[in-house]
């Protein structure tokens, strides 16, 4: 890969394959193979947002986990800044991981209920041994304030927060490490629409300030239209179509994409001049 391409694409996945074996039949004695990723290739442009959309079972969450090397691939490579993550020795992979962080869907399940918010957000700094205790505390506090929480919140437990606030904690935890790539797996789908708008705007602001590149996994095509620069449409483990958001939404090339876009609620009404 040329030096120019490395600067252009921060994360590139080539020909990813992943197969799950699943129990089948009424009593689960049978086995069937599910191709969760079938020759998937994507490229994330530095500083931009790449959305991965698809319905349940399309393989979008598997893709997220495989990009982060949280799950082994059957074949294919994931290049981060031009280097294959799978070829990294375990110790080096751990250090590299700080540059690729994840924000999870469920703000209720993804925060340890026995840890204080300050500990949750600071844990990554501790693990990666970034700075002295005082510096770490300062970073955590700064990040929490940036996402709209206060110093007093550091001493609280996750259950004391609403869904939207917990998602802010999840974002702070990912961003305190000053990553380059953030994989957001359905970060707003559990939230009310007013909270969803707040979190989407926060993610956009932080992207600018911290020069982040996002992989944004979502099933909500309206949200994707708002946040993404490019989009990858997945169906049954395969990439159906990819390109710039504006192009795909205005002129989808594939029947599946067309069908998906036509299913967006409120689109019929939007086609007329009402709402």
């Amino acid at each position: 890969m040329s030096a120019m391409n490395q600067a252009e694409f921060i994360l590139t996945a080539r020909h990813l394959n992943k197969t799950y074996s699943q129990r089948s039949g009424r009593f689960g004695f049978g086995h069937s193979l599910i191709k969760a990723l079938d020759d998937v290739s994507i490229s994330l442009r530095t500083g931009s947002t790449l959305a991965v959309v698809g319905e349940s079972g399309s393989g979008k969450s598997t893709l997220a986990r495989c990009l982060l090397q949280l799950q082994p691939l059957d074949s294919g490579e994931v290049l981060f800044q031009g280097r294959d993550l799978a070829a990294f020795p375990a110790s080096e992979l751990r250090t590299e991981r700080r540059h690729i962080q994840m924000v999870f869907q469920d703000p209720f399940a993804s925060l340890n209920p026995r840890m204080k918010v300050g500990e949750i957000v600071g844990e990554g700094l501790l693990i990666h041994k970034l700075g002295s205790a005082a510096e770490q505390r300062h970073k955590v506090l700064h990040m929490l304030k940036r996402v709209g929480l206060s110093e007093a919140d550091m001493q609280k437990y996750p259950h004391e927060f609403s869904g939207g606030q917990r998602q802010r904690i999840g974002i702070a935890r990912a961003l305190v490490l000053e990553p380059k790539v953030v994989v957001c797996d359905e970060p707003v789908s559990a939230l009310d629409v007013s909270i969803q708008a707040q979190i989407l705007l926060l993610l956009k602001e932080l992207q600018q300030e911290m020069h982040l590149s996002y992989i944004f996994i979502s099933h909500d095509l309206r949200v994707v239209r708002h946040i993404a620069d490019e989009v990858v449409v997945m169906h049954q483990g395969k990439v159906v179509e990819q390109g710039l958001v504006d192009d795909i939404y205005s002129a989808p090339a594939e029947e599946y994409t067309r069908n998906l876009l036509n299913s967006i609620p409120g689109r019929k009404a939007a086609a007329g001049d009402t709402y």
């Binding site: 319905e55 708008a197 239209r225 708002h226 958001v245 299913s263 609620p265 939007a270």
Partner: protein
């Protein structure tokens, strides 16, 4: 147009704390063959309103006051036994979770047939034929009557739920977020099915949702709820195109539009509280 349902001054509180108004003086009407959407965020009281109509509130909650007049009869005056005759027979209900609303150890045919046996006394071949017809009506092959819920997809399960709820040809259908757990293409199919059934059977439909896109697709009238109160109601085109209440305006500004052109604007609750006080 015949008035099917009229709710007057419905107020729901926790049984132990009657000063907390979870549903606060809610009134609206529903006509036969029309769809009214109750839209609101979590905690706005939209589901409690639906449960109150069916007298299905949990024992920790209490209907403090208000009338629910269905086909001229005040449902709040009925006892449990009389209500059982209405639930499932004259008012059908569909819930959000098609995975947990069906009994996993009974065939879907049996579950659809249950209300036909209880309410209409159908048996044997007549019952079988009616179950088959209902499945066909919701777009599932009649042979699926012998399937168990785990053998069906989420969309099919929701279709089974719909078949159950319309089995006795109720005059009214209450659908509480029936498509929230479904994929977007399946959601579009289910919305279309519900709309067709409503027209064909001239049912009144009370549809609860948090999604303004769904509202735009399915509603004739809209009721917007916020913190237990109705802040705005009216025909769907008026409410969506020309919202009058600051909360409705703010909420609509949070919804990503399908064109992706309008910037998102989160709700400024401090400002909203001032507006309400004024």
């Amino acid at each position: 147009m015949t008035e099917l349902l009229r709710i007057e001054g419905l107020t729901v509180t926790p049984a132990v704390a009657p000063s907390i108004l979870l549903v606060n003086d809610v009134s609206f009407t529903l006509e036969s063959g029309k769809t009214t959407c109750i839209v609101g965020e979590s905690g706005s009281g939209k589901s409690l309103t639906a449960l109150s109509i069916m007298s299905l509130l949990s024992p920790q909650l209490k209907r403090l006051q208000g009338k629910v007049i269905f086909q001229g009869q005040d449902l709040t005056a009925l006892n449990n036994e009389q209500m059982r005759d209405i639930r499932g027979k004259r008012i059908g209900m569909i819930f959000q979770e098609p995975m947990t609303s069906l009994n996993p150890v009974l065939t879907v045919g049996f579950q659809i047939g249950e209300s036909l046996t209880v309410h209409l006394g159908l048996k044997g071949q007549v019952l079988k034929a009616r179950i088959a017809a209902l499945l066909e009506q919701v777009g599932i092959p009649a042979s699926r009557a012998n399937s168990y819920p785990d053998e069906l997809s989420g969309g099919q399960r929701q279709r089974v739920m719909i078949a159950m709820s319309i089995a006795c040809e109720p005059a009214m259908l209450i659908a509480d977020e029936p498509t929230t757990a479904l994929d977007v293409t399946v959601q579009a199919q289910i919305l279309k099915l519900l709309d067709e059934l409503k027209s064909r059977m001239n049912m009144g439909m009370l549809f609860i949702t948090h999604d303004f896109g769904v509202v735009a697709d399915i509603a004739d009238n809209v009721v917007v709820m916020f913190r237990g109160q109705i802040v705005e109601s009216g025909p769907v085109s008026d409410v969506l195109n020309n919202p009058q209440h600051p909360y409705t305006q703010a909420l609509l500004a949070c919804v990503p539009d399908t064109e992706g052109k309008r910037p998102l604007k989160p709700i400024d609750y401090a400002w909203l509280n001032e507006e309400r006080a004024a």
